[in-house]
């Protein structure tokens, strides 16, 4: 150790100099060119694909989507063909793996064919709420002033009516209840949540230095909104949208259970669960299978939402 002691210094406090070979000096602030360039989205993708939850939930969602689009591929029989009251609440048998409903219809076929309506409501409501929420929230947050004040107050009013309560009122007077109407009705009361989140995210993004820098560069206000503010504000909305897809499916089922969801002729998990409640004591399986299908779907979206949130929130990533 090349150490030279200073006269008068106390023990261990002399002038110590580390050997240069032990402490080589790296070039100052040199770019590390060995790493591959990665955008924030690429980063998020890297973080997602390492997690098994991501693959499990994605696979389940793809499966549900396939069933919703092409139910015929998964069930040979049409669900309402061959319903025989003699089979009422019957147990599983060959060709009917899950048994029969009270009406003597095949439960498996009903679960498969019920997917479409439930998933449609979920997707449609999510898309509507997200689009309206993003547009309204972004305009209010970015342009501020009177527009913001008016839009935020209107949002407060719609926010004051809990989504399902509002939907119960509206649906109890609507004669025609298709997946589209259900989705529309729920969106009417659910958009303020996304709008509020978007507004906050846009506000914080537009206060950033890179936005000020773009203004000073002469980039137009609208271009800045589209090119800088929106891409940086969208992450929390994506997370909420993923999770709300699941909650909308649950909400539809709740409405159908109450008897004011999808019309009687439409096959859906919610309707089947609702119909099964009268025979829950004698034949619980009639209720359990559609409920399980619904829960697995919702669970997939919740898990995906969790993974996406962790991937898009660098703070959460740093904590891991």
């Amino acid at each position: 150790m090349p150490s030279n002691t200073t006269p008068g210094a106390r023990p261990d406090q002399g002038h110590f100099v580390a050997a240069l070979e032990d402490t080589p000096i790296a070039p100052l602030d040199k770019l590390d060119e060995s790493q591959k360039a990665r955008s924030t989205w690429a980063d998020a993708w890297q973080s997602m694909r390492r997690r098994p939850t991501f693959w499990i939930s994605s696979a389940l969602i793809l499966l549900v989507a396939a069933v919703a689009l092409f139910p015929g591929l998964f069930a040979s029989a049409q669900p309402n063909d061959g319903c025989e009251l003699g089979n009422s609440n019957g147990g599983p048998e060959a060709g009917h793996p899950l048994g029969f409903t009270f009406q003597g219809c095949d439960i498996y076929a009903r679960v498969i064919f019920g997917t479409q309506a439930s998933v449609t409501v979920g997707i449609l409501a999510t898309v509507l709420v997200t689009v309206v929420g993003i547009v309204v929230g972004a305009l209010a947050g970015y342009y501020g002033g009177l527009l913001d004040a008016i839009v935020s107050r209107i949002g407060d009013i719609f926010f004051a009516v809990p989504t399902v309560l509002g939907a119960i009122v509206l649906l109890s007077v609507l004669p025609d209840r298709t997946p589209v109407t259900i989705a529309l009705v729920m969106s009417i009361f659910a958009w303020p949540q996304i709008a509020r989140i978007m507004r906050g995210a846009v506000l914080s993004a537009s206060n950033s230095d890179y936005v000020t820098a773009s203004v000073a560069l002469g980039v137009s206000k609208f271009t800045i909104l589209v090119r800088h503010v929106l891409p940086n504000a969208i992450a929390p909305v994506i997370v909420i949208a993923t999770v709300s897809l699941g909650t909308f499916i649950v909400a539809e089922a709740t409405l159908s259970f109450l008897g004011i969801g999808l019309g009687e002729g439409i096959m859906s998990w919610g309707n089947d669960i609702g119909d099964a409640q009268s025979t829950i004591r004698t034949a619980p399986q009639v209720l359990l299978y559609p409920a399980a299908a619904l829960s697995i779907t919702v669970l997939s979206f919740l898990m995906l939402g969790d993974v996406v949130r962790d991937a898009l929130d660098p703070q959460a990533r740093a904590r891991r």
């Binding site: 106390r10 110590f16 770019l31 360039a37 002469g218 980039v219 891409p231 940086n232």
Partner: protein, 581 residues
């Protein structure tokens, strides 16, 4: 002092050879998914009773990790992997959590770095001081309350009684830091760990607080382990110095000796680049010798010569004229009432083409508002700003775009001024695109040219800001500002967030570019040392007004106003003698 202070002031024995704190071959690592990443590698140091020892280093050097390891407060997955930390002969790394609790606060106090985040926002100040005292003493009830007030008064809050019920957000940064110092010293610990206790504060406040801390620790005979990035500060405040670099100690020993005779190349660089020390040098000799100080950072002597020549040849007409400019903000207070804040009050100055002017001031002085007014990012309340002979207030449309092409900003925060979603190439090309300049191929060529001008490899264009260091990001911000070939760069604290060596590098780059591209600079900064290195003219701002405006030499050699003198005196290490080369 009242009777409540039970501890007596220990008498210092210069012959006491038992160290208070002895760190031996300390290794600290952070567990990550890629294994344990070492942060501190074989650090040894010794601290005696009543001494102050400073650990100096850049960000990532392991200085804070070392300090936190002492009282076992390592963040997240950090853990001591080898070595000993002996406090009065007891190995702190071997203590049980319960034993460690008894050491913290009463034996070893801690003053953290950021006053804004280190007090719990939901509890009042009195509560937070009180619980610290309560945890380490038997004082209760009235005595406890009295001691709380006493602690706060000692820390410099004279109206402590009335402020006990107030919450942290009602305190200024300086006052919060005083509270934290009070908490750290409240139980008269033998050792105080102060981790950059003033780096978030204005220089004059910093000086007051450090003076106060010095007095207190001297009175109580407290040893201090002082963590800082500022070599000047360390030299001024500590008798022992430890210089760390990438988790290792490169040099340690008595401060005076190390600064007078730095041995390790890294320490030499650090000493040479420390603006707080260098400013004295430049002042003493002339521009041409400043080059020597910077030679370690790689400055071309000729550049500074040229700067001197440029100064003589400067044209007489101002490129930018600011005349009687004021800016009034209306701030909503409780209810529907507004108070008015005159952020900028009747400010006038001129900037000649090809020169560098600096506006210096502390937070709230209005210096950044002046920058925003010149950049047309805020509207004037009154007065007049002329650029190249034309009034620029209220420019719109094409005229405004034309103005924007010629005056460009570079901001302080290298983490905030680049859009994280855009790669470097797109970021630099954005102004070209906004002004519809060139074809896509020409723009691409220009991006490469600009990257070259700021000394970054061409491959940088595919990078995203999160992959770059602070200094590299600041280079990108400069390249983007230069894309439109402007006449003026407004640099708002553009080097303040950078480590000292990188800061020197960027200042060199700016000097080079100025000569090459005949740029005019307006520096907005709180750091007089930086001003000394780069500016031709200085305006000192205080509370919205310009209190002194003159050439840099005049301001430094012969400051007229008390405030300017105070600012100069507050530069850490400003009056520290250092000899070697």
């Amino acid at each position: 002092m009242t009777q409540l202070v039970t501890q007596t002031v220990p008498v210092l024995d210069p012959n006491d050879t038992r160290p208070l704190l002895q760190i031996r071959d300390l290794e600290v690592g952070f567990k990550t998914q890629y294994g344990v990443v070492p942060a501190v590698r074989g650090v040894s140091l010794t601290l005696y009773a009543g001494q102050t020892l400073a650990i100096v280093g850049e960000s990532g050097s392991g200085k804070t990790t070392t300090a936190q390891a002492v009282i076992n407060l390592l963040a997240g997955t950090g853990q001591v992997t080898a070595g000993q930390i002996l406090f009065e002969g007891r190995d702190l790394t071997a203590l049980t959590p319960k034993e460690m609790e008894n050491v913290r606060g009463s034996q070893i106090g801690y003053v953290p770095q950021d006053p804004m985040s280190n007090l719990n926002p939901v509890w009042n100040i009195g509560f937070q001081v009180e619980e610290a005292i309560k945890a380490n003493s038997d004082l209760r009830g009235k005595d406890l309350r009295a001691r709380t007030i006493e602690v706060l008064k000692e820390a410099g809050l004279s109206d402590a009684q009335d402020r006990l019920k107030q919450f942290p957000h009602q305190f200024s940064g300086g006052m919060r830091q005083r509270v934290l110092i009070g908490i750290g010293l409240s139980s008269r610990p033998k050792l105080l760990i102060a981790d950059e206790p003033t780096s978030a504060l204005d220089v004059t406040v910093q000086r007051q607080i450090l003076d106060h801390l010095g007095t207190l620790t001297r009175d109580y005979g407290t040893s201090v382990l002082f963590i800082t990035h500022d070599l000047g500060l360390a030299a001024e405040r500590a008798e022992q110095l430890v210089v760390m670099y990438k988790g290792k100690i490169v040099e340690s020993g008595p401060s005076k000796e190390i600064l007078a005779n730095p041995q390790h190349p890294y320490t030499q660089r650090l000493v040479a680049a420390a603006p707080s020390l260098a400013s004295k040098r430049i002042q003493a000799k002339k521009h041409d010798e400043a080059a020597e100080i910077y030679s370690a950072g790689g400055t071309d002597t000729a550049l500074i010569d040229r700067a001197a020549i440029r100064e003589e040849q400067a044209p007489t007409r101002d490129l930018i004229t600011v005349e009687g400019v004021s800016k009034l903000y209306r701030i909503r207070t409780k209810g529907l009432k507004y108070t008015e804040l005159l952020a900028v009050n009747d400010v006038s100055f001129g900037i000649k083409k090809g020169t560098t002017s600096a506006i210096v001031g502390e937070s709230g002085s209005g210096k950044s508002t002046v920058a925003k007014l010149i950049l047309q990012l805020e509207t004037l309340t009154s007065g007049r700003i002329e650029f190249d002979g034309r009034d620029v207030a209220g420019l719109t449309g094409k005229e405004l775009l034309k103005f924007r092409r010629r005056v460009q900003p570079v901001f302080q925060d290298p983490y905030g001024s680049l859009d994280p979603q855009y790669n470097v190439g797109n970021t630099i090309a954005e102004p070209l695109l906004a002004h519809k300049i060139g074809t896509s191929r020409e723009r691409q060529a220009r991006v490469l040219e600009l990257l070259d001008q700021v000394s970054l490899p061409a491959a940088t264009q595919f990078r995203y800001p999160s992959e770059l260091s602070g200094g590299q990001r600041q280079r990108i911000a400069i390249a983007r500002a230069l894309a439109l070939k402007p006449d003026v760069l407004v640099l708002d604290e553009a080097v303040s967030a950078l480590d000292v060596l990188v800061q020197g590098q960027i200042l060199n780059l700016l000097t080079e570019l100025q000569t090459e591209l005949e740029l005019t600079y307006l520096f907005i900064t709180h750091d007089l040392a930086v001003v000394r290195l780069v500016a031709d003219n200085v305006c000192v701002m205080q509370k919205g007004r310009i209190v002194e405006a003159a050439s840099t030499d005049d301001v430094f050699d012969n400051p007229q106003q008390a405030y300017t003198q105070e600012l100069l005196a507050a530069i850490p290490g400003g009056d520290f003698e250092f000899g070697g080369k």
